[in-house]
Amino acid sequence: MSPALFQTALYASLALCSLGLVWRVSAWFRVRIGPDARTVALSQRVAALLRGGALALFSRRVFQLAGAVFLDLLLQRRLFANEKLRWLGHLLILTGFTLLLLMHALAAIVTAKLFQGYQPTLDPYLFLRNLSGAMVITGVGLLLFGRWRRQTGLPQARRPMDMAFVALLGFVLVSGFLLEAHKIASPRAFYRMSDQFIGSTDAGRLTPLRAVWASEFGVAFDDLKLPIDPRLLEQGRELHRSACASCHTKPVSAFVSYPMARVLAPVTDLLDTGRADAWLLYLHVFACFLGLAVLPFTLMFHLVAVPISLLVNAAAPNRDFSLAGRASRRALALDACVRCGICDLHCSVAPLARYLGNLGLLPAHKLQATAALAGGRLLGCEDVALRAADGAFLCTDCGRCTAHCPVGLDLEDLWEAGRGDLAAAGLPSPAQWVQAHPALAWAESLERGPAEHVDSGPDDLLAPLSADRRSFSRCVQCQTCTNVCPVVAHSMDSNHGIDLTPQKVMNLLRLGLRDLTLGSRMVWDCATCYQCQENCPAGVRVADIMCELRALGVRRLGAVRSLRESS
């Protein structure tokens, strides 16, 4: 590869990477999540960072930061506490990748400077390079296995770009090993070296040396028959010691590439003719440059976001931050999340996600929806937005996602901000959107609405009591329910009027006018205190029916909701 091409590609990808980094990091100050974050200017957020950073660095907290770097960042103790297998995989990738970067990609400026006589073909470098590559591959394998093994029955959150990047990483590693394997086996590479260091490419003259390289270094000469005459080998070793040995140890220590070279031996001639060494090098190097150029837009951006997030965590808990600081932390959280899905495993409403068939309840998916909403991409897709809203409002704020998050994100703060954004975008909780219109208006919409919207399945499972006359026909309209209802009692003055009373709701059911109750204030303001049901002399399960009417309302009114909003 020509040095000019190499350098141009390197600098181009570095420039793209830097621009991408600037853009992605600037998002931590630009992206606004939560209605309160809209009140903070970009300059305030930058100022909050500078102030907070200075305070943390020039105080005793700096020890906390150092502790966080060691325990949380390098040792990944939060991940260790969650999943040992993933922790091992992550550690293998991190160590292997760092070693490859320093010892292999940056060998000329790091390893060669630190260790005299460095040659990539000498041990321990040859062995270490294979070890590092094997560590990364094993680590990726462990992470994928860990993901597969979970089998919760619910799809895990992922971005297409992340999987593409993992594939690219795999390609870099495999092409690297293939290149090394081919160069071990390649007679062409042998002759190039002999020309350079012995000044000859004459096969006959080089036969003793070739014998040594064929039997001990794995070069696949097709005209040499093994085993080789020991005297010839002795002769070759002499030449090897003087011309080759200072730069080459036996490649057996390349425990990945060497066996690959043995496998490739039968086709090495073919690969040599096809100049495999050149195109494998191009593929390997350009895959690396491609990865570097797109790095800020892939999973690997967590290499930047996670350390910063962990340091910010160590500096102070989120609740001690100013609004400007919290606003930035929310945006940072979107990037620091690696979609590992550990939150989903512990989410207390995850079973509801399964039973409702709505992934919008799961934290890792919710984070993606929050990111999409902040980026203005969610509302374009009505179905997804509605499901995200359902999920957001069924969250119980139990805090288990935050407690288990291996990168220590304050997810509850993010969920609360996200709910605010959803409400501001016209997707508030059901109690709120239903009450935006009077009960009568909803009933009219149901009457006008297309039948397929309104009658979406039988009510028996969802609302068996309100669908069965026997459960309310005993009502004699005695008003006991109304008299004991605290909601009615607290809504008696003209400012806080209620539209129906519990007894009137029962009466509408008796008259077969159930749709008139679905959007009523009484139904949605019911406190589920069960006074009505407990006191009903006829044994009508008033409060249970109220619950059913709300569930029915969510479904039936939800079906005509978009018609109402657009009319």
């Binding site: 409403v349 119980t396 109690a431 069960y530 569930a551």
Partner: protein, 268 residues
Amino acid sequence: MKYALFLGCKIPSALPAYEASSRAVLAHFGVTLVDLEFNCCGYPARNFNRYAFAAAAARNLALAERAGLDILTPCMCCFGTLRHAIRFLGEDAELRSRVSEALAAEGYAWSGKTEVEHLLTVLARKIGVDSLAAAVRSPRTGLRVAAQYGCHALRPGNVTRFDNPMAPTMFETLIRAAGATPVDWPRRLDCCGDPLHQANTPLSGRMTRAKIADALESGAEVICTACPHCHLRFDAVQAGSSDASIRTLLYTQLLGLAMGLPADFLGL
């Protein structure tokens, strides 16, 4: 005695003192608590989808059954919800079969064995008021306490089987066991307002404040709670108000203090 401890969603994140004091008190009476990773009791889904609610609740019951344990919960909403689910599953064969299918998909099954107890029912009925009284070292003599019954534990009485839903006495008896004096207050069986907090904040606030005013008028010094929702609602409404306020105390804190347990064990 051994129970699976069902903390629910609110206690670990918002009221850890309730967990700490419950553990401290129950440990004293030899109750072993087992921690299982339960899911949400199902309450939030009740207003959304009856099947999802029943399935979520049943999954918890199945988790406890697999461990061969009954459930003890300090939360009145979780208690009521789980008891409701047992009723719905018992009376609706179609619901039961769909829920069983959903549980089976995850390898769970619920045969109906699991019992659900509230912290107070265990203290009053399983351990017994006499044993509680016998453990009291420094009775809270003279402390006038208003018992906050909590709707979801109390009603409907035929589902929750907590106490007489019209004229309950259990909480007052427990308060007396701690040496304190229960106060009769007209609104003692009223809703705390918490279920409406998000749906209708002003209405919820009026309900909470009416209870606080009533407790004060009735001469109470403390409102004693046994539910994180009631407890946190009283605290939240009082935190944002300049009106006369009343102290809230969890029953496990009251009893723990009377038993002479160190305050920091009780989250105080």
